[in-house]
């Protein structure tokens, strides 16, 4: 093989190595960028610490207020069988 052919082959190998490096870099960058984007944007990945789904505080307070409800009284119809006394 003459020297000209050897130089051409060497140059081609350098270009190929550079091309592999560039393509590898682009691939790695694309993978990392996609992963980062997925983490930020995909709904299956939480961005903040997870909180349990809960009703708004105002709703809870209304429900709780309603828990202080009255019982039902009526006029007595017989002799009392029990006493309510102070505790």
């Amino acid at each position: 093989m003459d020297r000209t052919a050897e130089r051409r082959i060497a140059a081609a190998r350098r270009r190929a190595a550079i091309a592999k490096l560039v393509l590898g870099g682009i691939g790695a960058f694309a993978f990392l960028a996609s992963a980062a984007f997925a983490r930020v944007a995909y709904p299956g990945h939480h961005k903040q610490p997870v909180k349990a789904l809960s009703p708004p505080k105002s709703f809870v307070s209304i429900v709780r207020r309603n828990q202080l409800e009255a019982g039902i009284l009526a006029p007595t119809e017989g002799d009392p069988s029990v006493v309510t006394a102070q505790t």
Binding site: G71, L73, T76, P80, S81, V82, T84, A85, Q86
Partner: protein, 278 residues
């Protein structure tokens, strides 16, 4: 009708089978063992001694949750962190062992309490006293153990399944159709400290026994717990108590100087109901 003693009072049970009565007694014993201020090994004393943060049992967490609910519902009138104020007033041992003392009573303010799951965080100097909430909740839980009609009464905190006629403080009677009936007041649990009469209903504004004009307040609630919390709040509110109950449509009966004052909701609930013909 059966009765036994627990939580420093007589518990009366009607309508329970032998097996159900056993379960009711076990329930009260469990609650007393966990929440008594006067049993050295109680979980309450362990929590109060630990201060700051402590991991509590699921039952304890449930009762603290109920006590925090009561505080929220009553604008902090019924506060679970007044254990230190009770001790300052002289209620530092079982009521049966309390004796008059020349030592003057002092006061203590309410503290903070927060619950995160089963982690309880007490503010500095705060001591829990959950007795009222625990007893009323025990009555509510106990009535759930009965399979048929009946009632459970603990020191006058009453819940029924089915209708029951109830004798009221100061005379009179009423029929409890559903829910619970509770009476709070200052005529039974009282003692002398430095020549001054003390009682167990602490006003969180002063950290001392309340100077309420009422002797006893009886309230009917959807549950015994609701009735007990409302009765205590109405007592502590003094002359505003009847209206406070009316705003919530809770029937209340107030006793002072031997005469009874009934709020509008109480009177309305005892009026004969006219049946509409359709």
């Amino acid at each position: 009708m059966s009765s036994f003693t627990s939580m420093g009072c007589e518990v009366v049970v009607e309508g329970a089978s032998a097996r159900e009565l056993e379960r009711v007694e076990a329930l009260f014993e469990e609650r007393d063992a966990a929440f008594s201020r006067f049993r050295a090994g109680s979980e309450l004393n362990r929590v109060n001694a630990a201060g700051a943060a402590s991991l509590v049992s699921p039952l304890f967490a449930r009762m603290v949750e109920a006590a925090i609910w009561a505080r929220e519902r009553t604008g902090s009138l019924v506060d679970p962190t007044l254990g230190a104020a009770l001790e300052a007033a002289g209620y530092d041992r079982d009521f049966a062992e309390l004796a008059a003392s020349e030592e003057a009573a002092s006061s203590a303010s309410a503290g903070s309490v927060a619950l995160f799951g089963r982690v309880l965080v007490l503010g500095r100097g705060a001591k829990l006293d959950l007795n009222g909430v625990v007893k009323a909740a025990a009555v509510d839980d106990a009535i759930g153990l009965l399979s048929g009609p009946g009632f459970v009464s603990a020191g006058g905190d009453l819940a029924s399944r089915g209708e029951v006629d109830v004798s009221l403080p100061g005379g009179g009677a009423v029929r409890l159709v559903s829910g619970g009936l509770a009476t709070s007041g200052r005529t039974k649990r009282r003692w002398l400290r430095g020549g001054v009469e003390q009682h167990h209903l602490i006003d969180p504004a002063t950290g001392r026994p309340s100077a309420s004009p009422w002797e006893q307040v009886t309230v009917c609630g959807a549950t015994c717990l609701a009735a007990d919390v409302a009765a205590k709040a109405a007592f502590l509110l003094g002359y505003d108590g009847p209206d406070w109950l009316d705003e919530r449509r809770l029937p209340g009966r107030f006793l002072a100087g031997g005469s009874a004052h009934e709020n509008a909701s109480w009177r309305t609930s005892l009026e004969p109901q006219e049946l509409a013909c359709t």
